[in-house]
C-alpha cells in the first residue's frame, strides 16, 4: 500500500479535549491543521468516556481568589498564581464558546441560567469533533504517531505514524507540532485511559524536551472490583468495610484512600454508598450515568449492598507530571514543539496535587487553546520553508533497536506494570522499594532499547511499551529525588515536607535518566 505523505502548518497529535481545542484554535488562527489520533477523535482518552467537573469560576474577584487559594496547600505550594488566573480566564471563555458555538446542552438551574460547571464526556467530545471538522481540520483517526520528525537544526518538523485501519504508515511534515497525547496510566484499564501510555512524553524526550513533576504520578482511583469505572468523587458518600462487614476505620475516598490501598494488600475491601440520601442518588445518576453501568449490569444496588472495590492506577493522567513548558504559549524547550493537556505538566495550576477532573479539564481546554494558537504563529513565521526542510525520524526504542537480542512489547509492558501498578511500590512509597523498582525499570529500558522491534500495527504497541518504560523511570527517579512528602507524593520514609525542597523537579534523559531541581522560578510561599 502507498504510504500517506502530506504537509500541514500545524500537526496536532491527540484527539482528546486538549488536542481538539488546539486543532480548532490553530485553524481559527489561519493554519492548515491535521489532527491525528491513536483512536477516534470523539471517543479517545480519559474525558470522552466519563463526565467531568470543570474549573469554571465566575469572573468575580472573590470567587477567583477562593478558587486559587483552595488547593495551594494540597499542591504543596508548587502551583503558580499567574497561570491559575490565566487558566480561569481561558476556561471561562471556552466553556461559554461550548454553549454558544457548539450549542452544548448545559443544564439550566432554578434561576433560569445554564450551569456550566461540568461536562459529559461523550456529548462534549462529539461536539468537539464536529467543530474541528467545521473549522477545516483534517482528522486522521486510528493513526497513532510513532515518532517525531526533526530538521537539521533539531527543530520538530512533523511526525510519522501508522494508520491502523489502513495497514500503512503515514508522514505529516508540519511547521509545528502540538503533543496532546494524554498522560500515562500504564494500561491499567482505568476508564478511557488505555490509549494514554505516555507516548507524547517519549516522543518529546527523543527530541530533547524535558519533564517536570514526574513524582506526582501516584494517582489511584476507586472502582468496583474487576471493572473499569473510576469515579472517585462519588465515593465520598461511601463507607468502606472489611469482608466480615465491620467498618474499615479511617478509610475514605479523599483522606483515607491510602488506607484502602494498604488494606487491599492483604484483604478484599468492600464498600456501600450508604451516605447518599435519595436526592443525591438521583443527582448522581443524572450526572454520571456511566457510574451505574457496573452496578446495573451486575444487579447490585450500591446504596444498599456491599460490593468489593479496587484501586486502579491512573499514573500521570490524574497525577500532574508531564512535559515541561517554557511559557504561556505552551512551548517546550524544543523549537516547533508544543504540549497541551495531560501530556504537559499540570503543576502550573495544580502543583503536586491531583489534577483529576475539574482542573485537568480546565487545563486541557486552556493549554490546548494556547498551544494551538502558538503553533499556528510558529508555522506562519516559517512559511513555505517549513515543508521544504529535510527531516529525519527521532524515534529510538521500539523503532530502531541498537542490539541483536529481540524483545517483545508484551514482556516490556508486563515488566513495567510489575513496578508501577502495585500499591506497595507506587502508592505507598518508600525509598527501599522505589530504588530496586527503578533499577528493574532501568534493565527493562535497556532490553527495550536494544531489542524491542515490531512490524506493521505492532509498531504502535512497541512504542507504547517503550513510552511506558520511559515514563516509569522519570517517575521513580523523581520520586526518589524528592526525599520528602509534598502534594500527592508521600514517602513513608520521609513523611514530612521539607522547606528546602520547595521547588519543582525537572527530569529527562532516556538511556541515562536525570533529575534536577528547577531554578529561577518564584513559587507561592507556604503560609
Amino acid at each position: 500500500m502507498t504510504d500517506l505523505d502530506v504537509t500541514a502548518d500545524v500537526l496536532v497529535a491527540g484527539g482528546g479535549p486538549a488536542g481538539a481545542w488546539a486543532a480548532i484554535k490553530a485553524a481559527e488562527a489561519g493554519a492548515d491543521v491535521t489532527l491525528v489520533d491513536k483512536g477516534y477523535l470523539g471517543t479517545s482518552g480519559a474525558t470522552a468516556a466519563a463526565g467531568t467537573g470543570v474549573w469554571y469560576v465566575d469572573p468575580d474577584p472573590a470567587a477567583r481568589e477562593e478558587a486559587m487559594t483552595s488547593r495551594e496547600a494540597l499542591g504543596g505550594y508548587l502551583a503558580d498564581r499567574s497561570w491559575m488566573a490565566r487558566v480561569l480566564d481561558q476556561t471561562y471563555a471556552n466553556m461559554n464558546e461550548l454553549a454558544e458555538v457548539s450549542r452544548y446542552p448545559f443544564p439550566v438551574g432554578e434561576d433560569g441560567h445554564q450551569i456550566r460547571r461540568g461536562l459529559q464526556g461523550p456529548e462534549y467530545m462529539r461536539r468537539m469533533r464536529i467543530r474541528a471538522r467545521r473549522s477545516g481540520v483534517r482528522v486522521l483517526d486510528h493513526s497513532p504517531v510513532t515518532e517525531l520528525l526533526v530538521d537539521a537544526e533539531g527543530a520538530v518538523a512533523g511526525a510519522a505514524g501508522y494508520r491502523r485501519q489502513h495497514g500503512r504508515s503515514y508522514r505529516v511534515r508540519a511547521g509545528a507540532v502540538v503533543l496532546a497525547t494524554g498522560g500515562c496510566a500504564f494500561l491499567s484499564k482505568a476508564l478511557g485511559c488505555d490509549v494514554n501510555t505516555g507516548d507524547g512524553a517519549l516522543f518529546a524526550a527523543e527530541t530533547g524536551a524535558v519533564m517536570s513533576g514526574m513524582e506526582f504520578s501516584n494517582a489511584y482511583a476507586i472502582a468496583p472490583e474487576f471493572t473499569s469505572v473510576t469515579k472517585t468523587a462519588f465515593y465520598s458518600y461511601a463507607t468502606f468495610y472489611h469482608a466480615d462487614g465491620s467498618v474499615l476505620e479511617g478509610a475514605g475516598s479523599l483522606r483515607g484512600r491510602s488506607l484502602i490501598a494498604r488494606a487491599l494488600l492483604s484483604e478484599r475491601v468492600f464498600c456501600r454508598l450508604d451516605r447518599a440520601g435519595e436526592e443525591i442518588r438521583q443527582a448522581m445518576r443524572l450526572a454520571q450515568p456511566n457510574f451505574f453501568l457496573p452496578f446495573d449490569r451486575q444487579g447490585i444496588d450500591p446504596f444498599a449492598e456491599l460490593f468489593p472495590v479496587t484501586l486502579l492506577a491512573e499514573g500521570t493522567v490524574r497525577g500532574t507530571g508531564g512535559i515541561r513548558l517554557t511559557g504561556y504559549d505552551c512551548a517546550t524547550s524544543v523549537a516547533g514543539l508544543y504540549a497541551a493537556g495531560d501530556a504537559a505538566t499540570r503543576e502550573p495550576i495544580c502543583g503536586g496535587f491531583t489534577g483529576g477532573g475539574s482542573h485537568n479539564a480546565a487545563w486541557a481546554m486552556s493549554s490546548g487553546t494556547w498551544a494551538g494558537q502558538a503553533a499556528a504563529r510558529h508555522a506562519r513565521t516559517l512559511g513555505a520553508r517549513a515543508a521544504r526542510r529535510a527531516v529525519s525520524g527521532a524515534g529510538g526504542a521500539g523503532l530502531r533497536p541498537t542490539g541483536a537480542e529481540r524483545a517483545g512489547h508484551r514482556e516490556i509492558v508486563e515488566a513495567v506494570q510489575a513496578e508501577v501498578l502495585p500499591y506497595e511500590k507506587n502508592y505507598l512509597r518508600h525509598g527501599d522499594r522505589l530504588a530496586p523498582a527503578l533499577a528493574s525499570l532501568d534493565e527493562t529500558w535497556k532490553r527495550a532499547r536494544h531489542g524491542l522491534r515490531a512490524d506493521g500495527a505492532d509498531v504502535v504497541r512497541a512504542r507504547s511499551a517503550a513510552a511506558m518504560a520511559a515514563n516509569a523511570r522519570w517517575m521513580y527517579a523523581s520520586a526518589l529525588a524528592r526525599t520528602e512528602s509534598r502534594g500527592m507524593h508521600k514517602r513513608e520514609d520521609h513523611p514530612c515536607s521539607d522547606p528546602a525542597q520547595h521547588h519543582r523537579l525537572i527530569s529527562g534523559g532516556l538511556d541515562e535518566v536525570w533529575v534536577a531541581p528547577e531554578t529561577g522560578r518564584t513559587l507561592a510561599a507556604a503560609s
Binding site: G42, R71, E123, D194, T232, M284
Partner: protein, 114 residues
C-alpha cells in the same frame, strides 16, 4: 469488555469500528463487525453509545467472560442500548447532558472530582 455484536440487529454501518478508541473491531466478510481484539477493549462503553440500533453489549467486567451473556435476557433487562438511552442519544431523546446536575459533593471532594 465488549462481549456481543447482535447480528440480527446490526445494520453494518461501521460506526463501532470507527468509534472504538482501541480498535477492537474488524469488519467481517458479511459486513457485521467481528470482535477481533477483545483484549484491547478498555470497557469504556463508547461503542454502545455510538451504535444506532443497540446491537452491542459491553459487560462491566474488565476481563473476558467465560461465556457471552444471553442476548434475550439482556434485551429483557433493558441492557441492550441502556447506556445510549441514559445519555439521551437517539431520535426524540433529551440529551442527558441537559439534565446532568450533579450532587453537591462534600467540600473537600469537590476539588478532586474524578
Amino acid at each position: 469488555m465488549i462481549e456481543i455484536v447482535v447480528r440480527d440487529r446490526c445494520i453494518t454501518c461501521d460506526k463501532c469500528i470507527e468509534a472504538c478508541p482501541t480498535d477492537v473491531f474488524e469488519r467481517g466478510d458479511d459486513g457485521v463487525p467481528l470482535i477481533a481484539r477483545q483484549g484491547d477493549c478498555q470497557t469504556c462503553f463508547m461503542c454502545e453509545a455510538y451504535c444506532p440500533v443497540d446491537a452491542l453489549y459491553v459487560a462491566p467486567a474488565a476481563h473476558p467472560l467465560p461465556e457471552p451473556p444471553d442476548v434475550t435476557e439482556l434485551a429483557e433487562r433493558g441492557l441492550l442500548g441502556g447506556y445510549r438511552a441514559q445519555i439521551g442519544w437517539g431520535h426524540g431523546r433529551t440529551p442527558g447532558a441537559r439534565r446532568a446536575i450533579g450532587p453537591v459533593l462534600p467540600a473537600a471532594s469537590q476539588v478532586i472530582i474524578s
